[in-house]
């Protein structure tokens, strides 16, 4: 495993580059196929509204997959991720238009741990709402 960031490079409070991810209905259909999660709340507006949702929502696991990219793009090697966890707090609502929704993710080094690892705390928001809570990754640096 080879991280392009070294342990000595970072301090508690070091900020990772912010990224914004776009998600449209087409993104969700594609993710459903790739992941095997065909729950209709992620592609069928009528069904989503019948179960009390405002509209079609993104797969929580899609948001989780995007958020860790802030870490893996920073280190270069996704194999350096040792732990990763999130809480799904609010759904990402995806309207039926060309714009879809945006998920903005930022990350900050929260602790320097043993064995060249650091804990990164992530913040993910969509439409001004925090969509992930307790979002943390432990990653091994070079």
């Amino acid at each position: 495993m080879t991280s392009k960031i070294t342990y000595e490079d970072v301090e508690v409070g070091t900020e990772l580059p912010v990224q914004t991810f776009s998600v449209t209905r087409a993104t969700l259909v594609r993710y459903a196929g790739a992941s095997g999660d065909f729950n209709p709340i992620h592609w069928n507006e009528k069904f989503a509204k019948e179960v009390g949702l405002p509209d079609v929502i993104a797969h929580g696991m899609f948001t989780m997959a995007e958020a860790i990219r802030v870490v893996t793009d920073w280190t270069g090697d996704p194999g350096a991720v040792v732990e990763y966890g999130v809480r799904f707090t609010k759904p990402v609502v995806v309207p039926n238009d060309d714009q879809g929704a945006l998920i903005e993710v930022s990350g900050k080094v929260a602790a320097k741990l043993d064995d060249n690892t650091v804990r990164v705390d992530l913040t993910a928001t969509s439409d001004g709402q925090k969509v992930l809570g307790m979002s943390r990754a432990v990653v091994r640096l070079g």
């Binding site: 080879t2 993710y31 860790i68």
Partner: protein
Amino acid sequence: MALDQSFVGRTYPPTEPYEVGREKIREFAEAVGDANPVYTDPEAAKALGHSDVIAPPTFVFSITFRAAGQVVEDPQLGLDYSRVVHGDQKFAYRRPVRAGDRLSVTSTIEAIKSLAGNDIIDIRGDVHDEAGELVVSALTKLVARAADVEEGA
């Protein structure tokens, strides 16, 4: 109705091996829009010390969640899946999943709680390779919302 606490600690039989293919990893990486070549180019993966292309960190959920179906659909446990939402998800990795892996999942019920009428169940899926080595553990918290609560989350 609260779930039976005696199910805590119950372990289900390991699943039949899932063979991780390069093209399935590519499909997943493209679906999340991640162009990191370590997912698609074996040479790029080797340059980082991996023996073949590796999978994005959350890829393994498709495998562990299917395995968790043994728990979710256990008629003796009696979880009402129509009311279940995904609460938390965690992964603890020993090494990344890579193409060519044959992965088997053993699911264990770690905890059962009842909170304000909601049933909360923690399922751990330990993912082992063909050599029997632990690759990753997935911790999935499912919340079965109380039948009389109307909310969209």
